[in-house]
């Protein structure tokens, strides 16, 4: 249960911005204005599969995903949440939570591998991260 040796994969780092440090996971926002899209990355060394976490950590991962999903819905109302753990390209364990809207850039297909990311304008990005932090705070306790 230590963060020792955890280093965020450089591709995840390049594609996303930090939102919050949860108990287990680093919560990040994908820098793609097409979708409201969060990543949860457990801060543990050398994880690939969910089964590489202990049972207690897995339970914590799902609780943090649930909390992140609730905050995301508050900030970005959606028609359907999408949850995914793929890792075919970046093997470091990470979980996607995406707010999908009917008719969005990938609808009804998955966001993964769909077109090119469209970075947020700087003000938009800061506003979304602040809104997410507010929604996470409001969900606490």
């Amino acid at each position: 249960m230590s963060d020792t040796g955890f280093v965020l994969d450089p591709r995840l780092q390049a594609d996303s911005l930090p939102v919050a440090q949860l108990g287990l996971c680093e919560l990040r926002l994908m820098n793609d204005a097409r979708f409201a899209w969060l990543l949860l990355v457990p801060r543990r060394h050398a994880l690939v599969e969910i089964a590489d976490l202990t049972a207690a950590e897995q339970s914590q991962l799902w609780q943090e995903a649930s909390r992140a999903a609730a905050a995301l819905r508050t900030v970005a109302p959606c028609d359907k949440l999408n949850l995914g753990a793929l890792g075919n390209i970046v093997r470091q364990l990470h979980l996607h939570v995406v707010a999908r809207v009917e008719g969005d850039a990938a609808w009804p297909g998955p966001v993964w591998g769909s077109g090119r990311a469209e970075p947020y304008a700087p003000g938009q990005l800061a506003a979304r991260i602040e809104a997410l932090r507010g929604a996470l705070g409001a969900n606490e306790g």
Copy 2:
């Protein structure tokens, strides 16, 4: 905590075959020989999002997904497991667990929306379902 009113979505029924009744979920095999691909469908009425389950049911869902994933890996060794809950097309809550192999028909993209399913030959299908049941049994207790 009752199955009352649960009816499997007809599209999920048409695309997959029953493997086992777990405590919460119906476990099914997608009839697509391109991928070793399981579905978990919680037997509860009118579920769309994971958040529609109680906290206890969510915990059970993840435990059953973990058990299903372990059985799948036994039967179909893979390079990466993919887990997904999308529901953009079929809204009834269902969770995908897919054994991915480098170079498979969708690699490294997601399986969802990728090409057309290739049904198993009948003998293959029965053999895979039996193997999965055996692996699930071996994981019990």
